[in-house]
């Protein structure tokens, strides 16, 4: 199947960006393998496919990237709209959060708490997953055992929490690679021609 980062950046074979990615082919192949491990997994026992796509849409909108969200929304159906609305309400800036008390406390940055607005419609598992995604996207240094307990209380298994955490964190990587390579592609190289 198509390389998802190439597709999202708009990289065509034979272009300069294609050549740059080819010089880090193992990273390119394994970014794709990461996508496949999360979105075409062998086992759905601990996190369903619709949960995976719903969290992905939410994370992309939180990053201000509705076009990337649209890619993940394709497989979500009617639920996508509710997730997009929920994410639009949850958007803030980051990273914020508190440090363990001490010399770094002077760098603590306050930020808004988030509770899903459509909790009943989302159901407890997905509502808890979106709350966790908001924590990891915007204020990961506020993470605490209580956040994991909230997931367990909502029905998440230990393995499911690992997968959910990887999915949110992988998207935090993928979105940034796409943003970075788009900027590189859009900028003229020193000789004056676009590199895309």
């Amino acid at each position: 199947m198509a390389d998802i980062i190439d597709q999202l950046v708009g990289i065509q074979p034979g272009t300069k960006l294609d050549g740059i990615r080819a010089q880090r082919q193992q990273a390119r192949d394994n970014a794709q393998a990461s996508y496949l491990a999360l979105f075409q997994p062998d086992s759905l026992a601990d996190m369903s496919l619709s949960e995976r796509h719903a969290v992905a849409v939410f994370v992309c909108v939180l990053h201000g990237k509705p076009d990337i969200a649209a890619f993940y929304a394709e497989d979500l159906g009617a639920e996508a709209r509710m997730i997009e609305v929920e994410a639009a309400l949850a958007i803030t800036t980051g990273p914020y959060g508190k440090y363990p008390e001490g010399v770094l406390s002077a760098e603590d940055v306050a930020g808004p708490p988030y509770t899903p607005g459509h909790a009943a419609a989302l159901g407890p598992r997905l509502a808890a997953a979106l709350a966790h995604a908001h924590l990891l996207v915007f204020h990961p240094r506020d993470a605490a055992p209580e956040a994991l307990q909230a997931l367990i209380d909502a029905g998440w298994s230990t393995t499911g929490i690992v997968t959910l955490s990887q999915l949110i964190s992988f998207l935090s990587f993928q979105i940034r690679v796409v943003v970075g390579l788009r900027a590189l592609g859009a900028s003229s190289d020193p000789k004056g021609s676009p590199v895309g």
Binding site: A27, S34, A37, H63, G102, L104, F170, R176
Partner: protein, 198 residues
């Protein structure tokens, strides 16, 4: 089942950024070593990681762990041209400093010093944060990592120009993009699944 959170009531976590070696305590039960299959070992990549609680917790989903680790290794260790290793590590350390991952920052600050010998500049980054003055080229690397980490993301063609002005070519810029982006993955796992220990 082992679906319980592990807490450490008497634990005192590090309260400052440091280049010291730190440990890490998981908040969820790692996979017991006796339950490792070949698929888990493929995900762990390095056999020694069977002794590491972070990797053994992530091994509960072995396919994404293996792909994550192989992505990581090529971004940071591929020696064929591109950004000098010291500056790949600088992008990782700066990203970790901004997100607040004391554990990740300690590892990659040590690597940045090892490969650059600029211990004073690395310590300045840890002490003062991403606004520290580290000289024009390192300042540009740190600022680009910040632009690709803080939300809203502000990394754009002006960022690319600031890197070209410091002599970075397109492969070097791509390495920097991947280094900073990867630590936005790693920091979130490290920060949210356990706690560092001195």
């Amino acid at each position: 089942m082992t679906d319980t959170v592990i807490t450490y009531p008497d634990h005192h976590e590090p309260t400052a950024f440091t280049r010291d070696m730190l440990g890490w305590l998981p908040w969820l039960e790692p996979l017991p070593e006796a339950e490792l299959t070949d698929r888990h070992r493929h995900g762990l990549v390095e056999p020694a990681r069977a002794k590491n609680p972070y990797f053994m917790l992530l091994a509960r989903d072995p396919d994404i762990l293996g792909a994550r680790t192989r992505t990581d290794k090529d971004i940071f260790y591929n020696p064929n041209a591109g950004l000098p290793r010291a500056e790949r590590e600088l992008s990782a350390a700066a990203t970790s400093r901004l997100n607040g991952c004391i554990y990740c920052a300690s590892v990659h600050a040590r690597f940045a010093v090892q490969h650059s010998k600029r211990d004073q500049d690395v310590d300045k980054l840890l002490a003062e944060g991403v606004g520290a003055d580290l000289g024009p080229r390192w300042n540009a690397v740190v600022a680009a990592s910040v632009a690709l980490t803080a939300i809203p993301l502000t990394f754009d063609t002006d960022t690319i120009k600031s890197l070209r002005d410091q002599g970075l070519d397109d492969l070097e810029i791509s390495d920097l993009i991947h280094g900073a982006a990867f630590f936005n993955w790693a920091n979130r796992l490290m920060l949210s699944l356990g706690v560092p220990k001195a």
